[in-house]
């Protein structure tokens, strides 16, 4: 009644604030990003970086060269983060922590290089400040810059007049970091400090509590880590409790800043895309689909959590288990939709404790391929792939060889696009199936990893593989993931789920870049109208539904319809 009315009002108001701010920011930021990636001049600091690292920054690259650069760069990052963890005792500011065990070190390295930030460990008990800052925080910047670069390369392929080249990976990664991520992260960190997020280099402080026990109060450069954790849609928390920890995310204001930091780039990239292909309305169409899916998911999740029945939820006004009182249900659902709709994976509430159907929604956001609006870069390229598949079917429906933005979607293009769509479902389903199907692994899963059995236990494992393969990083926390099987399997799922799609996207960019565009006529399928937007959203939903409906039925649906 009035309670319901109030809740709806809050839910709408919270969303409205986010939308208003993003609406104001996405045009200038989109234009800025277009300039970052198309401007002819390199800054002095950038030239310095090219000189130091000895890369050639002038040459336009074919997709193969571009891919090689991205892979070499990421492989280097992977080795470095792995090495840092293994050598932790010899590093300064290690807080006396030991070397990280092999499986976990691999998992963590893969996770941060793959923009996933899945954390099988409790950071404050595992990683010292050097690994956190020189290893993880650096990757938070660089993995995000790689995602952006790949998306921009695909956009260049679509915009190309037939040159066959898709830019220069070194330039794109450098500029993304220097001109985009670093400045916004700096501003974001300041805002977070203002909001009350901790920022120091202190060691844990031991204090005696009123009951007489000693408690360790950890400090650290939290605000600065936090800013890039959100901005780069990384999600790896400084503390185990992630953004539910009061030092990481003390109040609704800091929570709002974090939400905005997450969404600001993914929701501005469609504008960049529109400008770079010379048709802002094409960008707007993508934006509308992303926003539509985002808002729908938020509405459903909020409804599921508010409508929870049972004595405790009704007394609390909704399913408050695992949620922070200071954020409430709406502050939690908006945050959860934001971080799972992107590849952030940060949490300010425990998704494991959500209602059964509520818990299915963060999972669904990831299963959509994280395209609403998706991780920095990866969201845009994921959505463009879906657009290409939608165009293929729609193009046939209007009696033309399908074309998107003047580029024909022929055999090679559709092969690459559909293989892209094949990658994550295969990783998710195979990973989950192996976990239960192989007796020894099942032993480890049910014996060690799972807190819950039955349908919810299944959901926890399914969530883990969904999160890893889609590079999200959030978890149903009932799962203890620091086991050899899950560390290696999830680490592998992260790497394959990150770099196979990147390979396919860059190959597609190359194919598209080699084509000369076909001019649009009245016979060309318009890809900016509501009809096509609806079709794109429909294709996205249908493909996901068809792939995951059976497992969802066994997990959250069987649990939730009791």
């Amino acid at each position: 009644m009035s309670d319901v009315g109030l809740n709806v009002l809050w839910a709408v108001a919270a969303l409205a604030v986010v939308i208003l701010i993003l609406a104001a920011v996405h045009r200038p930021l989109g234009a800025y990003m277009a300039w970052v990636y198309t401007g002819p001049k390199n800054w002095r600091v950038e030239r310095g970086i090219y000189k130091l690292s000895g890369v050639s920054a002038d040459a336009e690259q074919t997709w193969r060269t571009y891919l090689r650069s991205v892979l070499i760069f990421s492989a280097g990052g992977l080795l470095l983060v792995y090495a840092l963890q293994r050598m932790q005792p010899f590093l300064p500011a290690s807080l006396g922590l030991p070397a990280v065990e092999e499986g976990l070190a691999f998992n963590t390295a893969a996770s941060f290089v793959g923009n996933t930030n899945w954390q099988s460990y409790s950071p404050e008990q595992t990683l010292g400040l050097t690994v956190q800052m020189a290893g993880l925080a650096v990757q938070n910047f660089l993995s995000a810059a790689v995602g952006l670069a790949v998306a921009i390369a695909l956009v260049r392929g679509l915009a190309s007049k037939g040159s066959g080249t898709i830019g220069n990976a070194w330039v794109d990664i450098t500029r993304g970091t220097v001109r985009l991520l670093l400045p916004i992260a700096a501003v974001g960190a300041l805002l977070l400090v203002v909001a009350g997020v901790v920022q120091n280099l202190a060691s844990p402080e031991a204090v005696s509590t009123v009951t007489g026990t000693v408690q360790n109060i950890p400090g650290g450069p939290v605000a600065s880590q936090e800013a890039i954790k959100m901005l780069g849609t990384n999600g790896g928390g400084f503390f185990n409790a992630n953004s539910a920890h009061p030092f990481e995310n003390p109040n609704p204001f800091s929570s709002l800043v974090q939400i905005l930091l997450v969404l600001i780039i993914p929701f501005s990239l469609p504008r960049t895309f529109g400008l770079m292909v010379g048709s802002p309305r094409q960008g707007r169409a993508i934006l509308v689909v992303m926003a539509g899916l985002f808002i729908t998911s938020y509405a459903l999740l909020t409804w599921a959590e508010l409508a929870a029945n049972g004595a405790a939820p009704e007394a609390a006004g909704g399913a408050m288990e695992g949620k922070e009182q200071r954020f409430g249900i709406i502050g939690s659902t908006l945050f959860a939709t934001t971080t799972t709709g992107t590849s952030t994976g940060a949490v300010n509430s425990m998704h494991d404790s959500y209602t059964a159907l509520g818990g299915a929604l963060p999972m669904l956001n990831m299963m959509l391929g994280e395209v609403a609006p998706g991780g920095v870069g990866s969201g845009l390229y994921g959505m463009l792939i879906l657009a290409i598949v939608a165009v293929f079917v729609a193009g046939l429906l209007v009696g033309r060889t399908p074309e998107y933005l003047g580029k024909r979607i022929g055999r090679h293009e559709i092969t690459l696009a559909s293989l892209y769509l094949l990658v994550t479902p295969t990783l998710v389903l195979t990973g989950t199936a192996l976990s239960f199907g192989i007796p020894a692994l099942r032993e480890s899963i049910t014996g060690t990893s799972l807190l819950n059995d039955g349908n919810h236990g299944l959901s926890e494992v399914l969530y883990a593989f969904t999160s890893a393969a889609n590079n999200n990083g959030s978890a149903f926390a009932g799962l203890t993931a620091n086991t050899p099987w899950l560390n290696w399997a999830l680490g592998l799922a992260i790497l394959l789920g990150r770099f196979l799609p990147i390979l396919l996207v860059l190959a597609l960019a190359g194919k598209l870049a080699a084509q000369r565009p076909i001019p649009a006529t009245a016979g060309t399928l318009p890809t900016h109208r509501p009809l096509f937007q609806g079709m794109l959203a429909g294709v996205t939903l249908l493909f996901t539904a068809l792939t995951y409906f059976p497992v969802l039925a066994l997990g959250p649906l069987a649990e939730g319809t009791i």
């Binding site: 293929f392 079917v393 729609a394 055999r411 389903l429 009809l531 039925a553 066994l554």
Partner: protein, 788 residues
């Protein structure tokens, strides 16, 4: 089947040994009778589609369909191959089941369930091959008709001084130069001294033994033994076997009407034909291969669609294969029968089953309109065309200019002007001349009696009504007319020519008349018409201008609407004409084309095509002359007229047997329709999956998790019935859609946006809704079976 290149010995019409061909589409087939070219030839617009699908047609196609179940052949269609594997697996399982103990499964199923699923899966595959077989069967009927034309004919080959494989006519000069060669034996034909080969030695040879370069003699009443070019002679030829057009056509050496087709009959006179194709690769052979689908290769879009469908199949294979391991966490395993049923329902069987039928039917539609596409790629390209190059004559205007007005010269009364115009045209048998008489008969104020008299006089005697000598048009005088018995003469022709004629007689009109004449002529020219001036020289030596006849290209009816439709489809039309700019612009404006290429030479045409293509547009054109060949080859869709030269036919990728350039527009529509049908059925097929999921997924696990009954939105009666109903629907829908795949989805010339909206509504939304209804209805029936 092969196109019999090794055994070109033609098959006697009555006894067709090509096994499968005999089983299908004889002349008695109601569909086949419509296939007769005679039928379609008369109505090139050919809105006629064969009646949907009779049970008889299905029955006829059944043996071929059963043969197509051969797994070796089926592997070409991976989706159906998966279904076939599933069917085989379940058959084995059903046989073994009595010997296996009962196993705990998630889905409770009655006895005979595995058999039921297995049988319906076999039916699914069968329906899939039936679709292809029916489509091929319809082509076979046409092929059989064509094959009759290929019967063995004795050919009379002219002995040549050079080896018979000599292909170049120009090389014949060499035969005299190298006269001392062994080849120079008595009787060897020397084209220089004996162009008609009247004195040359002629040997008989089977038409199947002809090779390119042979020269054959064909006389009245004989069949032309192979495709070739006429190198000497003029003859009327009956081409009805190929084109369905019963009126004979004239074939002559040189020029653009020199090509003849094997199997057609010479009705009069004698032709010397240089064979241009090897048996087995003749026009008719290619046509047969085409309509039978034997040489069908997958088109680019078809391959791309195959890739998408294969990927979807892979995704669903992963979904089904991982289901039991994942489910093992919480439930007993799903039985193999249910699992296979789930897989088959999810993979895009519908579109995969119909895909080749759609392609064959698309080609078939073209052939029905007497257009022969040399590849499927060309048909698809037709759908993508964004620029149409249309020849003015024959496409936009009727071939001939017609008189539309007679304007009296200054100081001449209406009646004299008319009578002069009629008299000057009386002996003029060209369509233009006749049109003056036609006009006189219908135009108010014109002396129709005079015209009638003139006309009857013409027809009776071939001479003018006045007792004079007709003067035929000649290129040097550029005038025609009549010299009357009384010594006066009348001339009709271009203004400059007639004025020069008057001038020569010293009778130039005075300045006032001259300028009035210039005005009249200028106005007509500016409007795109052709002015003809009629003048008279009296016996006394006086001369004056009497009238100006306004000749005009008459634009065919309904063209502006047609071009507006094309514009809505995003297709630009360019009119090609040899006329001057002014005339061309005027006609273009009247017809409503978008652009004009005036005073066009073949080089201009080629340049225009290249320019359009460099802008990313795809170009379609028609052509018939040898000098059109480069442009035809360059165009993405080049439609050669059957009356044209073989060079043109070789260069194009389609041949229009009716030689109707206006058909280009139909060809574009057929190309689009082909793609739309594929897209529509793909959309339908994938959209169907949603309902099948709602049938099967709750059914699979309701036994273990009763709460999943909430997902059973169709309230299907039992899990077993739900699964079986989904499988039955999946099979039956293929059968139900065969007619649509053969007929093609209706195509309307509207913008892409409207088309998408409409088709998405019908096949997208319809595809989501239809199976919910269908599966529910089937379930109502299945639930009557005890145990289900």
């Amino acid at each position: 089947m092969s196109i019999k290149t090794e055994h070109p010995i033609a098959t006697p019409p009555a006894n067709n040994p090509s096994g499968s061909g005999a089983a299908h589409g004889g002349a008695g087939d109601p569909d086949a009778s419509q296939n007769q070219p005679q039928d379609t030839g008369a109505t090139p617009s050919g809105a006629k589609t064969p009646s949907a699908l009779s049970g008889r047609a299905l029955l006829k196609a059944l043996p071929l369909a059963l043969r197509k179940l051969n797994p070796v052949a089926m592997i070409r269609r991976p989706v159906l191959f998966v279904v076939e594997l599933g069917a085989a697996l379940l058959t084995v399982l059903a046989l073994a089941e009595p010997f296996l103990g009962a196993q705990e499964t998630a889905t409770p199923t009655p006895a005979g369930f595995t058999w039921a699923i297995a049988i319906w899966l076999w039916l699914t595959v069968l329906f899939g091959s039936l679709a292809e077989a029916v489509a091929e069967g319809r082509g076979k009927a046409q092929a059989d008709t064509l094959r009759k034309t290929r019967s063995e004919t004795p050919a009379r080959v002219v002995e040549q001084g050079k080896p018979t494989t000599q292909a170049k006519p120009t090389a014949q000069g060499g035969s005299t130069a190298s006269g001392s060669d062994a080849g120079n034996r008595a009787g060897a034909w020397d084209p220089a001294s004996d162009p008609a080969a009247l004195r040359a030695t002629v040997t008989k040879r089977a038409s199947s033994a002809l090779v390119a370069g042979d020269v054959v003699v064909v006389e009245a009443g004989e069949l032309i033994p192979g495709d070739g070019d006429v190198i000497h002679g003029v003859a009327s030829v009956d081409e009805s076997a190929i084109t369905g057009e019963s009126a004979p056509v004239v074939r002559e050496s040189g020029g653009d009407r020199s090509s003849v087709t094997g199997g057609t009959r010479v009705l009069s006179d004698r032709l010397l034909v240089r064979i241009t194709s090897t048996p087995g690769q003749t026009f008719v052979d290619r046509m047969i291969a085409l309509v039978e689908g034997a040489s069908r290769r997958k088109t680019p879009n078809e391959v791309a669609l195959d890739v998408l469908l294969a990927t979807l199949t892979l995704v669903f294979l992963v979904v089904t294969l991982t289901l039991n391991p994942i489910a093992s966490a919480v439930a007993p395993p799903v039985s193999l029968a249910v699992l296979v049923a789930l897989l088959v329902c999810l993979i895009p069987t519908t579109i995969s089953a119909l895909l080749s039928a759609i392609g064959i039917a698309g080609m078939d539609r073209l052939v029905r309109r007497n257009v022969l596409a040399l590849s499927g790629r060309a048909v698809e390209a037709a759908g993508d065309v964004s620029t149409l190059l249309l020849d003015k004559t024959g496409t936009i205007t009727y071939g001939n200019r017609r008189a539309v007005a007679v304007i009296p010269a200054a100081g001449v009364d209406q009646e004299s002007a008319w009578s002069a115009a009629v008299e000057a045209s009386a002996a003029d048998t060209t369509p233009e001349g006749r049109s003056v008489l036609d006009l006189a008969r219908t135009e108010a104020g014109a002396p129709s009696a005079l015209a009638d008299a003139a006309a009857s006089g013409t027809e009776a005697s071939g001479a003018g009504a006045s007792d004079g000598t007709p003067v035929a048009f000649s290129a040097t005088t550029r005038m025609s007319g009549v010299d009357r018995a009384d010594g006066s003469s009348l001339r009709k022709g271009a203004a400059s020519a007639v004025l020069a004629w008057l001038d020569a007689a010293g009778q130039s009109p005075d300045a006032r008349t001259h300028s009035a004449l210039d005005d009249a002529v200028g106005t007509i020219a500016a409007s795109g018409g052709t002015p003809l001036v009629v003048a008279e020289l009296t016996a006394a030596g006086g001369g004056r201008v009497l009238a100006v006849i306004h000749l005009k290209d008459v634009v065919k009816e309904g063209l502006p609407e047609k071009f507006a439709q094309l514009r809505a489809m995003g297709i630009r039309t360019v009119m090609i004409t040899g006329d001057n700019q002014v005339t061309a612009r005027a006609i273009a404006a009247e017809a409503g084309v978008d652009d004009v290429l005036a005073e066009a030479t073949p080089e201009d045409k080629l340049a225009l095509i290249k320019a359009e293509q460099s802008g990313g547009r795809m170009v379609a054109m028609t052509g018939d002359g040898t000098n059109d060949a480069p442009a035809l080859a360059q165009a993405d869709v080049g439609v050669a007229m059957n009356t044209g030269t073989s060079a043109a036919k070789e260069a194009g990728n389609m041949v229009d047997l009716d030689s109707d350039p206006a058909k280009l527009i139909d060809i574009v529509a057929i190309g689009k329709q082909l793609l739309i049908t594929r897209g529509a059925l793909t959309t339908f097929s994938i959209a169907n999956d949603l309902a099948k999921y709602f049938a099967i997924v709750p059914a699979m696990f309701m036994g273990v998790f009763p709460q999943l009954a909430a997902l059973n939105v169709m309230s299907l009666s039992s899990p077993a019935s739900a699964v079986l109903s989904a499988v039955i629907f999946n099979a039956v829908v293929i059968l139900a859609l065969i007619p649509l795949s053969l007929r093609g989805v209706k195509y309307r010339a509207v913008s892409a946006s409207k088309l998408l909206g409409r088709n998405l509504l019908i096949y997208g939304l319809g595809g989501v809704v239809a199976p919910f209804v269908g599966i529910k209805l089937i379930d109502l029936l299945v639930s009557l079976i005890p145990g289900f």
